[in-house]
């Protein structure tokens, strides 16, 4: 149904510059996907908070104040204080940074590695495909959390700029096979498209075809995938932190804020538990909705 509407209607329109096209695309997205727009805005706000945490957060997230332990929310501490007298709101703001850096980096890492694996697998086929697929099978036969848990536990901690690089790997590795699966399936379709044959017939090199011709056409499923991964990572990080293999205190992390002492102080200090939980839920919610909206916009046929 979509196919028939396309050809002539757009033919008459002047192309416009690239930037303009983007703007128009965003405008269209906003009109067609109000929920997507809302979620994008939420993400922007969180992103803003994370990036400019230094200015947004009223307090230093690490600063303890032993005179102000477990204070309920008030005008000075909007979300109360925790068991060390640290300002919870500030920790939430900085926690956004942790969540987003970890979420985005590990999703990108897993998405890129898996995507390359998938597209290579699909493009070359044959034994390359067989070997890579078996490898993917192996990784895929373990639940994400199990794999992440074991990898995180095995690798231990290695912080770079306040972000645990090993944790990033631990989360990215389980995503790799998933991305490889989805991208391979999509790439198999793209692979049979005549324009790929045309590129081969034009004598282009394999890397040029894979990266220059196939990859851009896989951007839609890939973006959707990565936004879903980002949502999942935030949940996964929380779960891993809860299990004790995630982020390490005192790095502000939403997941961490939900484990340990906070759990036990629920009835006395519910704010220590409620706010981080809400922060996680809201962010994950926004990323998931955005993923949905992207999928609907970029490629209505792409569902998995």
């Amino acid at each position: 149904m979509e196919a028939m509407a396309v050809p002539f209607e757009r033919a008459a329109r002047p192309a416009g510059r690239r930037g303009l096209r983007w703007l128009k695309g965003i405008g269209r997205f906003a009109r067609e996907q109000p929920l997507g727009l809302a979620s994008a805005l939420i993400i922007l706000v969180i992103l803003f908070a994370g990036v400019f945490a230094v200015w947004v957060a009223p307090y230093d997230p690490l600063a303890t104040d032993f005179a102000k332990l477990l204070l309920p929310p008030d005008a000075t501490h909007w979300a109360g204080t925790d068991e060390f007298g640290r300002d919870i709101f500030s920790r939430l703001v900085y926690g956004a940074r942790t969540a987003l850096i970890l979420g985005i980096c590990s999703s990108l890492l897993g998405g890129i590695a898996g995507g390359l694996l998938g597209v290579t697998s699909a493009y070359f086929g044959g034994w390359v495909d067989t070997v890579l697929q078996r490898f993917v099978d192996i990784l895929l036969s373990l639940p994400v959390i199990i794999l992440a848990l074991i990898v995180a536990a095995v690798l231990g901690r290695h912080e770079i700029y306040g972000i645990d690089a090993n944790l990033m790997f631990a989360v990215a590795i389980p995503y790799m096979p998933k991305a490889a699966r989805v991208i391979r399936a999509a790439a198999l379709t793209v692979r049979t498209m005549p324009y790929i044959d045309a590129a081969r017939a034009a004598g282009f090199s394999h890397p040029r075809i894979v990266l220059g011709h196939m990859a851009p056409n896989l951007a839609a499923p890939w973006l959707v995938l990565v936004s879903a991964f980002t949502a999942q990572t935030i949940l996964l990080e929380a779960a891993l932190s809860y299990l004790g293999v995630g982020v390490t205190d005192p790095t502000p992390s939403w997941g961490l804020m939900l484990s340990g002492v906070a759990v036990q102080s629920f009835s006395q200090a519910p704010w220590t538990v409620i706010f981080p939980g809400l922060a996680i839920s809201l962010t994950v919610f926004a990323f998931s909705l955005l993923g949905d909206a992207l999928r609907d916009t970029l490629d209505p046929k792409f569902r998995h």
Partner: protein, 503 residues
């Protein structure tokens, strides 16, 4: 206090994980002791109510020769094993021999404690004689170690590893069943040698995660978790159970010290000025307030347990680096020392185990205030110990849990690294070694105390370690449960024979 009533089952939580073995000789872990202790007797024991007084368990009476080399114990008559056989001195000797010189395939993790024993003799079925090579002021306490379970000689003969798999002793309770991850069940041993004991019909130790143990206490599903809870958790339990629970506090501290050991092999930390600066950064007194609410570690003290015979008064303590009340001055001094040492921008890591993230939080916060940045690395146990031993850290957590306050065993980790690889600060300091040796040989407690104080002060001024906090034990006990004594260690009084349930 009413008269004890017979009957009832004690259901308690064990929130420490699963036992690796059932053998007391091979393990000192509380997760073993809480489950296994009710099934065994020891030769001597430490009276929980009058800690650290040593009383007899299987031994009815004993004499020590004036030169301190011969210890003779008279055993109680009519002690029976759970399999019905009678306990003789042979069983006691076999058990201690097993600890001292474990046969092939048997592990004894504390055989060093009995290093001074030359031989064990059994002149008759009711007498055991320990001959020492040299006198040891702590010998009785060592023989009272709660891990010194007495096993059946006959069974050991057929299988020296039986205690690892099977529970059979002379304790007040007979072993019934163990479901890994779920519960450990014991029942009253009717032929227990103390008449009328135990009061309980049996006990059930339920395996719970720490948060669910608190939930279970709050829900009245367990009567006690001996390990204790934080005051915050106690509040939560009280808020749902009210008068149905009683709170016990072991005062002022239990015999567990948490420290941050400083790796003296790291270039930056080789400089005593830097180490001293780190010590000066700490404000124990304020920190204690934060720890007090939400953790079980909050008592300020030096290397000796506050409240013990070896501890110094607060006034004396305040003279040691890091314990002063004028924190601002101390920190200014710390910054000066750092600058002097050329380490104004010091960056450190703190290697920590899983359960105590707050120690890192505290340390990092304190160091920040003198311009030292630190990150905490919390890793799984095996990595923790491997890295700690390999010296792959700047600061690492060290802890001294024990049933005793006596420094001889407890401070052995401060002996030079080349003598004791367990010294993770990795320094070699003859002065520490000499003082350690010296204090263990002085019979006069007062004189000994002087040396001990000197040793403590020396270690702390050298900045080999930063004592953090001593453990506190807040135990929530169901009001119906009687006979609980909040001893200043987690290890003693765990045979459950004194407990009874009020109906």
């Amino acid at each position: 206090n009413a008269t004890p009533q017979r009957g009832g089952n004690l259901v308690f939580a064990v929130s420490l994980g699963e036992p690796a073995t059932f053998d007391c000789h091979a393990a000192g872990s509380l997760n073993v002791m809480y489950r296994v202790a009710p099934h065994y007797s020891t030769l001597l024991q430490i009276d929980a109510a009058h800690y650290p007084k040593v009383v007899g368990d299987l031994a009815e009476s004993w004499t020590v020769s004036p030169d301190g080399l011969v210890y003779e114990f008279k055993l109680r008559p009519n002690v029976k094993f759970h399999d019905g056989t009678k306990l003789t001195s042979g069983d006691v000797r076999a058990s201690f021999e097993r600890m001292r010189n474990p046969p092939q395939g048997v592990l004894s993790v504390r055989k060093e404690l009995l290093a001074d024993v030359a031989s064990i003799e059994t002149p008759d079925a009711g007498t055991v004689v320990f001959r020492l090579e040299k006198p040891n002021v702590s010998m009785l306490a060592l023989l009272a170690q709660p891990y010194g379970c007495i096993y059946s000689e006959a069974l050991l003969k057929s299988d020296p590893t039986y205690p690892a798999k099977k529970v059979m002793g002379t304790g007040p309770f007979k072993f019934v069943s163990y479901t890994p991850g779920a519960e450990w069940v014991g029942e009253r041993f009717p032929d227990y040698f103390r008449p009328g004991l135990p009061h309980l019909d049996g006990f059930k130790a339920i395996s719970l995660t720490p948060p669910s143990a608190v939930n279970a206490l709050a829900g009245g599903q367990v009567m006690v978790d001996f390990r204790g809870v934080s005051p915050l958790e106690a509040d939560r339990i009280v808020s749902t159970r009210g008068k149905d629970v009683q709170i016990f506090e072991a005062n002022p501290a239990i015999s567990t010290l948490f420290m941050a050991m400083i790796n003296t092999q790291k270039p930056a930390l080789r400089d005593p000025r830097v180490r001293k600066a780190l010590a000066l950064a700490l404000d124990h007194w304020e920190g204690s307030k934060a720890m007090e609410r939400s953790t079980t570690l909050s008592v300020v003290g030096g290397l000796a347990r506050p409240g013990s015979e070896f501890a110094r008064s607060n006034a004396e303590l305040e003279k040691l680096p890091g314990f002063g009340r004028n924190v601002d001055a101390a920190r200014a001094e710390a910054r000066r020392l750092l600058a002097e040492a050329g380490q104004a921008n010091l960056k450190l890591t703190f290697l920590n185990r899983k359960p105590w993230p707050f120690l890192g939080v505290y340390l990092i916060d304190q160091f920040r205030q003198i311009g030292v940045t630190m990150v905490q690395e919390q890793v799984e146990d095996s990595q923790f110990f491997a890295r700690r031993r390999a010296g792959e850290f700047d600061l690492a957590v060290e802890y001294l849990p024990d049933y005793l306050d006596d420094p001889t065993a407890k401070w052995s980790i401060f002996v030079s690294h080349e003598k004791n690889p367990a010294n993770i600060a990795r320094y070699n300091d003859p002065k520490v070694d000499t003082l350690m040796e010296e204090q263990s040989r002085i019979g006069d407690p007062a004189k000994r105390l002087v040396v001990i104080r000197q040793l403590e002060e020396y270690i702390l001024t050298q900045g080999y370690t930063l004592p953090l906090f001593w453990g506190r034990r807040t135990t929530v006990v169901d009001s119906r449960l009687q006979g609980y004594v909040p001893a200043p260690t987690n290890y003693v009084g765990q045979d459950l024979s004194q407990f009874w349930i009020k109906r």
